[in-house]
Symmetry: C2
């Protein structure tokens, strides 16, 4: 469900029909989960730092529940067929018309691997056997972590799922770099292509540029 | 904030003072996020499969917002000091009195690496430089993914944070296997010790036993 998931990340987490009621102050610019009312008791929430905590949370003054919002996992797959990889042209906003590998929000009840396989089936109608986890890319400013796997396509069969306008095999030299939907997707693909050139796939753990994060592993110098 | 985070996983997501109001039906046994009322408009939510979706969600009949709940990331670290690793004895429920490596829920605004470093500082008062991501362990039945890093302690300094009763260095042969707090922690430590014996740290991507997940990577046979 890449479509709906991404709505969370683009400042549209609450649709217009939340109307004239009290709007939350935090995270409004990033689209990270916001709340007006307590999901436990239905009374208004406010934002404060709970006792013993050091971060601002949505807290219910009526029933005292503290509502935690945590980063979401986007599971993705770079599907390989011989010397080419499968990319999808997005049929949905944001970035409709631009290219990405299959990726979407992980669901409760599945593993990271199942999520990557499912998204590949949904968006590219392709069946993959995952071979490695290639990158773990944090996007601290929007509370997301991309887990990007590499998968071998079991057959040459693929097609456009409902969220894709087109799905095509690209040789690494043909990747449409100026038409990639998201920076994080471009960054993952760049590392993948670099690894191909070096002849060895390695795990990359990093944050994408423009994020708030600093520490990274010694082995990701890109 | 491991303490509060873990409350979400043990069926206590909604405290008793939600009182006599309508209780949610889904996820009640697992403690995965539940809601009674719409966080956007404050009216009651119900559970149904939205059009074009294939999973049951909390949906608001009044303002039509669909509320997605996704897995949470627990970032952890196995801190190394020479040939020993640092473990914490939990001061909080669940599993108070049992041992774990530092781990806790990732926060919005940080990277996975920052989360692991922060948890190590909070729970073990130790400063680490992360050297590798060691395991990605999904717990589908409770909607969590553990990202476990290995970190080198920068100094021998450590101590019990507010969530720990005790913090100690253990040689791998001394790990208190029958007093480990959680299965996922035991599974991560077991892989770490196996890798030590083989003389090579590798990345492990797997789901913990008892979970709903099946697919896994070829390179995690354990």
């Amino acid at each position: 469900m890449l479509s709906i998931g991404f709505i969370h990340t683009t400042g549209q987490a609450l649709p217009e029909h939340t109307g004239g009621r009290r709007r939350p102050r935090a995270f409004a610019s990033t689209g990270i989960d916001v709340m007006n009312f307590c999901s436990a008791c239905g009374n208004p929430v406010s934002q404060k730092i709970p006792e013993g905590d050091n971060m601002v949370r949505f807290v219910c003054a009526t029933c005292t529940v503290i509502h935690y919002h945590n980063p979401k996992i986007v599971a993705g797959c770079i599907p390989e067929w011989n010397d080419r990889i499968l990319l999808c042209r997005r049929a949905i906003e944001p970035k409709s018309g631009l290219w990405t590998f299959p990726a979407g929000f992980m669901e409760i009840g599945e593993s990271t691997e199942q999520a990557a396989i499912r998204e590949t089936a949904e968006e590219a109608q392709a069946e993959v056997a995952l071979t490695s986890l290639h990158s773990v890319l944090s996007l601290p400013h929007i509370g997301q972590v991309y887990l990007v796997f590499i998968g071998k396509m079991r057959t040459e069969r693929f097609g456009a799922g409902t969220e894709s306008l087109d799905v095509r095999l690209f040789h690494p030299s043909e990747i449409p770099w100026d038409q990639i939907a998201f920076t994080v997707v471009r960054e993952a693909l760049r590392r993948y292509v670099d690894d191909l050139a070096k002849g060895e796939m390695t795990l990359h753990v990093a944050s994408i540029p423009g994020s708030l994060a600093k520490p990274r592993l010694e082995d990701d110098r890109s």
